[in-house]
Symmetry: C2
């Protein structure tokens, strides 16, 4: 079955891939949708080859797939994983990721309370991931929920995507954001992931706050005016 699906839907990874997405959850799906809208060649990787192949087939035709033991083919590799899984993946890959831009979308939130981060003050998930790899880590998409990200818009306007990281890599991610129909807002070096993750803690807590019944994982953090 794995091989059948891989033959049917998968593509070899030696083709020219722009973007690899690791993970098949809601965020991976939303980012895949935006990547396809941007006209990017796409690879999706999951722990299970079959899961990845099925996911690729659901996304459309011509989507490469494979499992996370493979070296990702894309120049940009999006870690569409929870924080702990992202760290585990990056650590396991070792030097295989060295030439990549790794996009960290995670929010290291204590989901039991929605009141604190699991990273210490003066750090961030992005910096912790960066410490595990020689790849260039860029923080992006941590303030965009899957729903708005799927459409790339919020309130009828291109979605704002905050991007932090080393300038050259950040610019590549920003170019992708533009190609995908959204607005990149570059906020500086990777240490500014601290502020992006910190504020998103507040925004996520709003989604589970009974006093804000209209906030239900469909909002978007936006700068207007």
């Amino acid at each position: 079955m794995k091989n059948f699906l891989a033959r049917l839907f998968g593509k070899k990874n030696d083709m020219n891939i722009d973007i690899t997405i690791i993970g098949t959850g809601n965020m991976g799906r939303a980012l895949a949708t935006r990547s396809i809208a941007a006209g990017k060649s796409l690879q999706v990787l999951a722990r299970s080859t079959e899961t990845a192949a099925t996911f690729a087939a659901e996304l459309g035709t011509g989507i490469a797939s494979g499992n996370t033991a493979e070296v990702p083919a894309g120049r940009i590799v999006v870690l569409a994983l929870p924080f702990d899984a992202a760290k585990e993946y990056v650590a396991a890959q070792g030097s295989a990721l060295d030439s990549k831009i790794l996009v960290d979308i995670t929010n290291p939130v204590d989901f039991a309370t929605f009141d604190s981060l699991t990273t210490p003050a003066g750090s961030s998930a992005a910096e912790e991931i960066s410490a595990l790899t020689s790849a260039t880590v860029v923080k992006a998409f941590n303030t965009t929920f899957a729903g708005p990200l799927t459409s790339g818009s919020a309130d009828g306007k291109p979605l704002d995507v905050f991007v932090a990281g080393e300038e050259s890599a950040r610019s590549e991610v920003a170019a992708f954001v533009i190609a995908a129909g959204m607005r990149p807002l570059e906020v500086g070096g990777l240490h500014h992931a601290r502020e992006l993750e910190g504020f998103q803690l507040l925004v996520m807590a709003m989604q589970v706050n009974p006093a804000l019944p209209d906030f239900n994982w469909g909002t978007a953090l936006t700068i207007v005016g």
Copy 2:
């Protein structure tokens, strides 16, 4: 001249005052404008009695004024001052503020670089101010620039005002925000001022970023959807 202006425009502070605004800058003016729109009785205090009286007269009729040596009359006292001046004021007032709700609107940004805060990681301007007083400190209006705050709207919608602090005091400030035609978004205890101040560092840096020529202190941080 001082006495003449005080007689002409000032009011005694023994009247029932809802809100005292400390400071006569752009933020003080915007908050005064919103207070008046909310139908609140207002007092403005400045270092100079004359400056305060002139400011009060510019705002309209029936605005009380005085200098910062006086005990503020309002239940809610807005520190419309830079961070260092706010700390100095609160420290100098001592126990005179004990029964008040102090609204801290400051952003402890390193204005030389717009790349870091002047407060240490794991702290905030609001918490530093709170440590100087027995008054209840609420963080609010640090993400609203004076322009949008003057109108109370951004992009044709009520302006979002993020509010952090102890629940009862926070609710009083939120009620004022609603009365003033804006949308309060309560984000929890005062320690969440960290995230509000952190993110606003990024937003302020955008205003001076040549790559974002449309961002010129007129934007508003908003949650849509």
